[in-house]
Amino acid sequence: MHPILTTVLQRLALGLLTLFFVSVIIFSSIEFLPGDFTQAVLGQTATEETVAAFRRELGLDQPAIVRYFDWIGALAQGDLGTSFSGRASSGVDRSRPVVDLVGPRLENTLFLASMTAIVAVPLALTLGILAALYRGSIFDRMVNAVTLTTIAMPEFLVAYILILLLASLNPIFPSLANITEDTPFWERVYRCALPSMTLTLVIVAHMMRMTRAAIINLLASPYIEMARLKGLSPRKVILTHALPNAWAPIANVVAFNLAYLVVGVVVVEVVFVYPGVGQLMVDAVTTRDIPVVQACALIFAGTYIVLNLIADIISIVTNPRLLHPR
């Protein structure tokens, strides 16, 4: 088998293994959450019998090990389970499958993430590469100063400043990004403008600096000096000598930031009242709706693992040592 294939398969297996460990961690940390759903719903006054009956209905009377394997087993068949809420023993079961709860939210999150990434990634890479090429120039110093400022500002502050400037003082965009399933596409884009801008500012700063550092590191290699000493044009030096070796570091930078767009945006969702997965998870934690919490946590972990896996695979397939073994 080609060594690249072997390595990629190894990484895949490793990714699955990580996901498994993460599921254990998610499950056991939820076990340690104080309080439980029955208490949260039925209140302090409920009789012991009602509580016990309700616990039985939810399966909470089973030992943790059994519940873990039930969860994982169902998960392996693509079943995320059923939400705890809406099941109150009122006789009518209005509870919904977790998929139905999480699905639309995930769609929203991915929508905002993609919208942001489409602008932010090319922008950050371009700025980073240019800043590295013209290191020390006025352009570089300016970009550095601006990005340092945005990095130093907390997200919610960036968000409020944008709201102030672009929604209150100059009412261009709406300050609430409350979309529903039937909101048409362009209307969505319009309503997401401010949250997307906030996220763009935050990750462009980060991504641009990381790209700049990676490229500067690369440009210091002796083979780049050699290319210059061969009298190649600066363009050629970058395109044929630096870029082929830059994919791995750039892929890492991008993966890290894309993951952030899915996993780390809860603050922005709260500020703009955007119905994303982050909000859902926060709500679910408050109500102790364990199946939903678990599903969200797993989605977050899975995002990290998959994106890093992709970055890993890119660095593997662009590594000449692996591509052309001895």
Binding site: S221, M226, K230, S233, P320
Partner: protein
């Protein structure tokens, strides 16, 4: 006559940026080179050789500023030339061969593409012509399978082969001038000879002028018609090679010859302080030492020589217990030592100390000299308080440093001073045996001499035994009593210095010794020819 001059650098001043300000690193140097002539540029590291060599291409590394002077290359002043003009010269008429070929080749492209890249981009030849020519250059550089080797990637060929390929790359556009910047420093001696010979031949064949930068006198003697000695960014002296070798004028130049001038009559004894008996050792499942037996005479210096990878350092690790052998014993004063470090008593640990090549990494950067030397004094000798201070002072005096060094951190010491402190730290334990692993390899010639003389003096005064691991034959000549030659994890021979250094040699010792450049400018031709004859004989023998 003046048409004959290819490069004329006049009163060059170059600044470098460090510690937040600009410093002069080349202080008004002149350099003239005729067509087809090879100028050797020699000096210690940091003397400014690379900076000056690169300036000949009108190039300064980031943080370097060509401040004043003129660089006339074939009627054009590179000091004032536009970036575009310099670009069209580089790679076409002036080429560069870097120290580490492994780092200077782009890992992402095939050798041949990189070899002909400059030639193509300057429009010197068509792609097909250049590729054909590259193959003939590979052949001229004695690369194996010249037709196909170019289609390999840099990591697929050896260091010596890469260095030849880089010379071929420099030659591709048939430049008038090549700057060789220590091109063989990273190679083993036995590889170095062949690469040197191929370079010399190529330069002669195309009548290319060259600036050959090195810190190795014997190498420059083989390559250069004329030698310029550089120190602290200033010229010390310049002369024809013969003249420079036979009659160096400046005291500094004379001191460069110094290590080779140390002589010590070999003595030996039958009283062995340490005996390695039939040791076999492996890293994991990779066998590294095969049935190695070495006897170390008490109070003498045993040199262990061999190329990198021959098992010298592994032998040291077995002796110190860092790598327990899979078979065999280490006897200390006749009694077997526990194989692993953990099994050894404090007393046994104290008796064998080690000094490393990289004094930098061997010292804790946050410990002062007082702490570095004081710790083993406390640990092994059990001294406390002012007794420690007094002992540390005594040790400092032994290594010829005064008490003003006590509170310095490693960062405030020169390379030679750091190595001295490491010696004092080893001595602090009052050991019987000190293992010195390439302790002078990272140092400049003059500093090397100082350290070697110090080690010899300490041996006379204290009677300590050295196991001196090195790949440098000049060092071995200077200080050893007995020599062990290692090759591929085996001991080729052990004996008293005068016997080992005299013919007849076993085949490998012969190869090793004959690979070490001598100051005789004719040496390279003879050595390379002998080597060719040998490999031809080998091939016909096989056939």
């Amino acid at each position: 006559m003046s048409d004959d001059i290819l490069l004329h650098m006049k009163n060059i001043v170059i600044d470098g940026f460090s510690d937040e300000s600009w410093h002069e690193i080349i202080k008004g140097v002149d350099l003239t080179l005729k067509r087809g002539e090879v100028l050797g540029l020699i000096g210690e590291s940091g003397a400014g050789k690379s900076t000056l060599g690169l300036a000949a291409m009108g190039y300064g590394r980031p943080g370097i500023r060509l401040t004043a002077g003129e660089i006339w290359f074939d009627g054009q002043d590179l000091m004032t030339a536009s970036e575009a003009d310099k670009q069209s010269l580089r790679g076409a008429r002036i080429a560069y061969v870097a120290q580490s070929a492994a780092a200077a080749f782009n890992p992402a492209h095939r050798l041949i593409d990189q070899t002909i890249e400059a030639t193509l981009s300057h429009g010197v030849k068509t792609s097909a012509e250049a590729a054909e020519d590259a193959k003939s250059l590979y052949a001229a550089m004695d690369l194996p399978d010249p037709e196909n080797i170019g289609f390999r990637y840099p990591h697929q060929v050896s260091g010596g082969q890469l260095q030849r390929a880089m010379t071929a790359m420099a030659m591709s556009a048939r430049p008038d001038l090549i700057i060789f910047d220590e091109p063989t420093t990273a190679l083993d001696v036995t590889t170095q000879v062949n690469v040197l010979a191929a370079m010399r031949e190529a330069v002669d064949r195309f009548n290319t002028a060259a600036i050959y930068i090195t810190h190795d006198l014997a190498v420059v003697a083989q390559m250069a018609d004329r030698i310029k000695v550089l120190r602290y960014g200033e010229e010390v002296e310049e002369a024809e090679t013969q003249e420079m070798l036979s009659n160096p004028k400046h005291p500094y130049t004379k001191s460069l010859w110094a290590v080779r001038s140390i002589e010590k009559p070999a003595e030996t004894s039958d009283d062995y302080v340490l005996e390695i008996k039939n040791v076999t050792a492996a890293y994991g499942s990779v066998p590294v030492l095969h049935d190695v037996s070495i006897a170390v005479p008490r109070g003498k210096t045993l040199a262990v020589v061999g190329e990198s990878g021959s098992g010298k350092s592994t032998t040291a690790r077995v002796i110190t217990g860092l790598l327990p052998p899979t078979e065999g014993d280490v006897l200390f004063n006749g009694a077997p030592l526990p194989a692993a470090l953990k099994g050894r008593s404090k007393d046994q640990l104290q008796r064998i100390q080690m000094i490393y090549q990289m004094a930098d990494t061997a010292m804790n950067p946050r410990h002062t000299v007082r702490e570095t030397i004081g710790r083993p004094v406390e640990f092994y000798l059990g001294l406390r308080g002012s007794a420690v201070d007094q002992r540390v002072s005594e040790l400092l005096a032994m290594i010829e440093l005064d008490d003003s060094f006590l509170d310095r951190l490693p960062g405030e010491l020169s390379g030679g001073q750091k190595q001295r402190v490491c010696i004092a730290r080893a001595l602090a334990a009052e050991p019987e045996v000190i293992i010195c692993d390439e302790v002078t390899s990272a140092l400049d010639q003059v500093v090397q001499e100082g350290i070697l003389k110090l080690l010899m003096k300490l041996q006379r005064d204290l009677g300590v035994t050295y196991i001196f691991i090195t790949h440098d034959i000049a060092t071995v000549q200077a200080i050893s009593d007995e020599i062990v030659v290692m090759w591929m994890g085996k001991v080729v021979e052990q004996g008293i210095k005068d016997e080992i250094m005299q013919p007849p040699y076993p085949e490998y010792t012969e190869l090793l010794l004959s690979s070490v450049p001598t100051m005789d400018p004719g040496w390279l031709k003879g050595a390379a020819a002998a080597r060719k004859a040998m490999s031809i004989a080998e091939e016909t023998g096989k056939a």
